[in-house]
Symmetry: C2
Subunit: 214 residues, 2 copies
């Protein structure tokens, strides 16, 4: 499959590109700046430039020829809440619309732990959860073959490959970005994950086994 | 009808309360603070306290016994974009959910000019349009008998009672908050406005006539 990674320059995105490169799939890195695209191209990875604050048409053009879209982008913790609205919400929904426009069926969204459940939202970043919540809702209704991953607190620890997955996990937990990338990669053509949403944190079970039991 | 005005202490909300008071309807002012409720009660208006950042259940309780909900609330221009997400988007959607929970069918939303159309969004407050856009989308899908008003630039001019209404108005225009209140009031039991969305600016036609031609 040709796989568009949206947010390829991000911490999860970069690891996902590496996993795809080592596989039978072909990654296409979608990034915001020409210089980021050049860096990927120099490493032998196809790259396209498109801005989540730009038009749906431009994103659709970037997605042209791909068979799946992986959304790992985020406005990050250093920008204002206006960017949360423009990127994490509207940028995600534009990508969903662009995916449909490009005739692509498969879409994987990296969301946030319990983004579907207001009661769990952390006060300090509650607005971020609002953005993720409504982006996920749009994906649920999109008609695309979706998977929504809702990871716990993200760390830069090395991946363990062991997770705990559940449709409605209680409590709190964390997970490394490396393992989130591995899960997204594992979901790509795993039909058990089609049209499913789940919370995921670090745990005791191998990713493949945990996904099989979804 | 008993009519819940959400954002009753706002500039449109206050004028709407006055219009309802002078009519056969009974307004119920939903406000955030006890002292605001006291002010309404002293003026002979029923008032309930509920916070759009609080639970759906509390809003539903505030709506109990009402026959319609008018959403005129907004986080305003003096708060951050995080409040735009929490109030203008999630607060609006919570109110929609609460309306359904309370068994109420009628819902009128004060949205923003061309909120349904990204191409028109003003760069400076683009994030505000994102919030209104997704709140409106939730209302469209809610199953409620909705009306969505998308007014042009709001002014504090006295109302003229004359408007221009269209499902997809081009260009730019303004309208007084007084006239927005009058339109919301006129839509309340006007079946021509049921399940309709429209842009509205100052114009040449009497509100009632313009609504009849929707």
């Amino acid at each position: 499959m040709n796989v568009l990674v949206v947010g390829a320059n991000g911490q999860i995105g970069k690891q996902l590109i590496d996993l795809l490169k080592e596989s039978d799939h072909t990654p296409v890195a979608m990034v915001r700046k020409e210089e980021q695209a050049n860096t990927f191209q120099q490493a032998g990875v196809e790259a396209v430039v498109a801005d989540l604050e730009g038009s749906v048409e431009k994103i659709a053009k970037a997605a042209d020829g791909c068979d799946a879209v992986l959304f790992t982008a985020g406005s990050g913790g250093h920008t204002g809440a206006d960017k949360t609205l423009l990127v994490d919400l509207d940028g995600a929904v534009k990508t969903i619309e662009a995916t449909k426009q490009a005739g692509i069926k498969r879409f994987i969204m990296v969301s946030a732990f319990q983004a579907n459940n207001r009661e769990y939202w952390n006060e300090k970043i509650r607005h971020y959860y609002v953005a993720k919540h409504y982006a996920d809702k749009e994906l649920l209704r999109s008609g695309l073959t979706y998977t929504i991953l809702r990871p716990g607190g993200l760390t830069n620890d090395p991946g363990t490959g062991k997770v705990l997955i559940g449709e409605n996990l209680s409590g709190r937990g964390k997970i490394s970005r490396a393992d989130v990338a591995k899960i997204v990669f594992s979901c790509l053509d795993n039909e058990k994950t089609f049209n499913r949403s789940f919370d995921v944190v670090e745990g005791e079970e191998a990713i493949e086994n945990a996904l099989e039991r979804l």
